[in-house]
């Protein structure tokens, strides 16, 4: 009997830790059971609670029962209840022992449904998949990872999501209690797991109890999806996951309340509308504007009300590519002519109205007219961190509205319509006709430009994009990843008709290579249930960071057509090295060293085939492209991934 009494004490203490909503408050006003557990000598004087690891470090003989009793469940079962309440459809994970309790609960207690585990072969892939999934679906999915080695793999991808203002919900495992760690749990253990990504996440917590966990889990979700959106991190203690709790115990799950995003101050919005209505050449520049499909509709409404030029910088699908007011191909021209420029969630507004010349002695010049009025509407003004410099150079503006641009557009559209007189409308219509003619001419010049090098080998990228477009344009397609990180000037964006919000998912945000391939699979995962044909223009250098994501696509039957833009080098870096060769006047002959991916050439078709993906190539003759694409699309339409390796020109 004495033995069982001794065995009971620490269990009660751990229950106290798991269940206590506020450990400090619990110490001040200890409930009877806790007071009893602390012994008859418990003092009424307030004492700080004993740290969990100190309490558990007490030498306690193990209880006889080593499995959950019929009246018990695991702490991580409750965690799954909470995650289900948040509506996660998937959890992208690479398995790790620090979350083995939660892993087991997901697949057995949770039935591997809503969320379903998606097996990734690298944490960087898991985060990038979740990143792109959000942009396709408008809803976050979770990532599950070791708190140390897993997070270290994931860090670059989290940074991309941070720069791209995308909510990724990262769940980490960690064994806090040093007294009971197994061997690997020591070098997988960490005092403050989220520290290494705290500069580029919005919020994190390491809850001490299940009640604390439930609140933090819901809070993390709310914080992540409230603009400005960003990744969040939740660190879950291994013993909190694994320890038992009585089934009868009611642990509350807070209701998810997603805050409405902040709308611009009404006086400031009216002032912006006045400036726009009075302007002769207003330009609307959108970058991360369209948070939801409604964002594109609102920008179309605003642009048409003003007959104003629109530049879509392409971090989101902001504006139909062939809309007559779309002047993206003429960005420099319209900025130079503008008398009012309005930046809508533009991360680099300085770079929009100025240019930097990248020579030995760098210089800058203003692109916009000196007296052009500048207006910004962005949540970038609401939250900024110091260490990483993704906030860009400060641009002085005439009116800065700290608000979510999409949430502000309805009021701006109303104000513009209210202020527009019949006289102004006539001016707008003349302006719109000129802009329509300019965009038509630009599109025609682009088609002519694409026809150069049409028959050359390796395949020109313009030809590749044109051939792919010809095969998909009558399908319900979605370009889930494209060949530059920042390729608004790329051939797909220039040639294809993008008019639906899911047809373009933007780029990686931080320029971290290795985003493209997993982002394509994540976007395709979101598109799958909508029956969309997902296509990616996949660069070779990017794929080789995390090629295992092809296996994930095959294993989970994620339909995706990957067309390799295989130019056999990190050509962007070649350009940089070449610039240095020139600046130092040392000759360019050796500029490829360190950036080429040749000798041997990588056989991407075999790589994909080895992971169960249908693949063809390498294709060097452009005339072979269309038939190969048709065969691959037939495979994708059966619900599987396919890859066509095309040896291409540089860019």
């Amino acid at each position: 009997m004495a033995k069982s009494t001794r065995a009971k004490k620490p269990l009660e203490r751990r229950q106290f830790l798991r269940q206590g909503a506020l450990a400090g408050a619990a110490a001040l006003v200890a409930p009877p059971s806790v007071a009893a557990a602390q012994g008859p000598a418990a003092s009424p004087a307030p004492l700080p609670p004993a740290p969990a690891m100190t309490m558990a470090a007490e030498t306690v003989p193990p209880a006889e029962a080593q499995v959950l009793g019929d009246n018990q469940r695991a702490g991580s079962d409750f965690m799954v209840d909470v995650f289900k309440s948040l509506g996660f459809e998937y959890v992208c994970e690479n398995p790790g022992s620090s979350f083995r309790g939660l892993h087991e609960s997901f697949i057995n207690y949770g039935g591997d449904r809503d969320p379903e585990l998606v097996t990734c072969l690298h944490e960087e892939a898991a985060v990038a998949m979740a990143h792109a999934y959000y942009k396709a679906e408008g809803k976050p999915i979770a990532v599950l990872s070791h708190g140390t080695v897993g997070l270290q793999h994931a860090a670059m991808a989290i940074y991309n999501a941070w720069c791209d203002k995308v909510p990724v919900y990262v769940i980490l495992g960690n064994y806090n209690d040093a007294a009971i760690r197994r061997g690997a749990e020591w070098y997988h253990g960490v005092q403050d797991a989220a520290l290494m990504v705290r500069d580029y996440t919005k919020w994190d917590d390491a809850p001490w109890s299940l009640t604390h966990f439930a609140e933090s889990a819901v809070r993390a979700y709310q914080i992540a999806v409230t603009p400005p959106m960003a990744p969040v991190v939740l660190v879950l203690d291994g013993m909190l996951q694994e320890g038992p709790i009585p089934k009868s115990q009611h642990l509350p799950i807070p209701k998810l309340s997603v805050p409405a995003p902040p709308q611009g101050d009404s006086a400031a919005v009216t002032e912006a509308a006045r400036m726009l209505v009075a302007a002769e050449n207003p330009v609307l520049v959108a970058d991360r504007l369209a948070r939801t499909p409604n964002g594109m509709k609102l920008l179309v409404e605003l642009a048409e009300a003003l007959q104003a030029a629109v530049v879509d910088q392409g971090s989101r699908m902001n504006f139909p590519s062939r809309h007559p007011l779309n002047q993206t191909l003429r960005e420099g021209a319209v900025i130079a002519e503008a008398d009012v420029v309005v930046g809508l969630e533009v991360s680099d507004f300085w770079g929009t109205v100025n240019a930097l010349r990248d020579q030995l002695h760098r210089s800058t010049r203003r692109l916009a007219k000196p007296d052009a009025k500048l207006v910004t509407i962005t949540t970038g003004d609401l939250y900024i961190r110091a260490n990483y410099q993704d906030f860009r150079r400060l641009q002085d503006v005439d009116l800065a509205i700290a608000a979510d641009a999409e949430a502000t557009l309805p009021a701006l559209v109303d104000a513009v319509k209210r202020l527009t007189t019949a006289d102004r409308r006539r001016v707008f219509e003349e302006r719109g006709a000129k802009l329509a003619e300019a965009s038509r001419a630009a599109a025609e010049r682009t088609r002519v430009a694409a026809s150069y090098a049409w028959t050359s080998t390796p395949v020109s990228v313009a030809r590749l994009c044109a051939e792919l477009w010809a095969q998909i344009k009558n399908e319900d397609w979605s370009l889930v990843s494209s060949y530059y990180s920042f390729d608004v000037g790329g051939w797909a964006r220039r040639l294809w008709n993008f008019d639906k919000p899911y047809q373009w998912l933007g780029h990686g945000g931080g320029g971290g290579i290795g985003y493209g391939a997993p982002a394509a699979v994540g976007g395709a995962l979101a598109n799958r249930k909508h029956g969309r044909l997902s296509v990616a223009i996949q660069t070779d250098g990017d794929l080789m960071y995390v090629p295992g994501v092809l296996w994930t696509a095959a294993h989970h039957k994620i339909p995706l057509l990957s067309v390799m833009h295989n130019n056999r080098a990190y050509h962007m870096e070649v350009m940089h090295v070449q610039r240095m060769c020139n600046a130092r006047n040392r000759g360019i002959d050796r500029g490829m060293i360190g950036s080429e991916i040749t000798n041997p050439n990588i056989d991407y078709a075999k790589l994909a085939q080895s992971m169960g993906v249908y693949a063809e190539g390498p294709i060097t003759n452009p005339n072979d492209l269309a038939p190969a694409l048709r065969r691959a699309i037939a495979v994708v339409k059966r619900g599987e991934p396919a890859l066509v390796d095309v040896v291409t020109q540089v860019r």
């Binding site: 009075a278 002769e280 191909l329 003429r330 420099g332 021209a333 130079a336 010349r357 990248d358 020579q359 692109l367 007189t421 102004r424 001016v427 000129k434 802009l435 003619e437 300019a438 001419a441 010049r445 682009t446 088609r447 002519v448 430009a449 694409a450 026809s451 150069y452 090098a453 049409w454 050359s456 390796p458 020109s460 990228v461 313009a462 030809r463 044109a466 051939e467 477009w469 010809a470 530059y484 390729d487 790329g490 220039r494 008709n497 050509h571 070649v574 350009m575 070449q578 020139n582 600046a583 006047n585 040392r586 000759g587 360019i588 002959d589 500029g591 269309a626 020109q649 540089v650 860019r651």
Partner: protein, 211 residues
């Protein structure tokens, strides 16, 4: 709003006056352009923003390098352009400035001949190798067709004198090549290869380029 409309009308009136003010018959020696000045003015006036650093075709604007248009017609067009090009009034940009820019685009003083006549004989086959070896293809792409990082430079390259000048001392983002790393003869070889690039088939004969 009323004030604004008045201002618009005033600007329009000024445009008409300045266009009417160009006497295309009296643009003789006094407006002969200086192509060295023109090179700087081309960037300063903002022509480069749409037409690219040397007046090649871009998505935003057509080619104006080596224009066959007469100076008087050039000035008249700039004063009252068609399409989306913004007009430049005589108050903002004088006839002399436009004459200088014109000389720059022609690659020689307006009174002189086309600089392409002075191009040394180049060997296109050697140029093909050099084009790749010295990295032109990185921005101007494998066949000189251009892309997001550099304009099309072949076929129909800009006049040779202008070509050499730009390679030696670019005004834009292009890294400079001195004669230490690329000789004039080598440039002539590359130029010959660019001249020899095939013209593309008519766009309308290429079904994948159908909108």
């Amino acid at each position: 709003m009323v004030n604004h409309t008045v201002r618009v009308l005033a600007v329009a009136a000024a445009m008409l006056t300045s266009t009417a003010g160009v006497d295309v018959t009296k643009l003789g020696a006094q407006t002969a352009g200086n192509d060295t000045r023109g090179r700087t003015l081309y960037v300063k006036v903002g022509c480069e923003t749409c037409h690219g650093p040397n007046g090649q075709e871009t998505a935003a604007a057509p080619r104006i390098a080596g224009s066959g248009r007469e100076l008087a017609a050039f000035i008249a067009y700039v004063r009252k352009p068609l399409g989306s090009m913004p007009p430049q009034s005589a108050q903002a940009v004088s006839d002399q400035v436009l004459a200088d820019i014109y000389a720059f685009l022609r690659a020689a003083p307006a009174a002189g001949g086309e600089a392409t006549k002075n191009a040394p004989a180049g060997r296109a086959d050697a140029g093909a190798t050099l084009y790749r070896k010295v990295g032109c293809y990185q921005c101007h792409v494998n066949e000189g067709q251009g892309g997001a990082n550099g304009p099309r430079i072949g076929p129909d390259p800009i006049p040779f004198a202008r070509f050499v000048q730009y390679v030696r001392s670019p005004t834009g983002q292009m890294p400079p090549y001195t004669d230490k790393v690329l000789s004039n003869q080598e440039l002539a070889d590359i130029y010959a290869w660019l001249q020899a690039r095939p013209r593309p088939p008519a766009v309308n004969t290429l079904p994948p380029l159908a909108p």
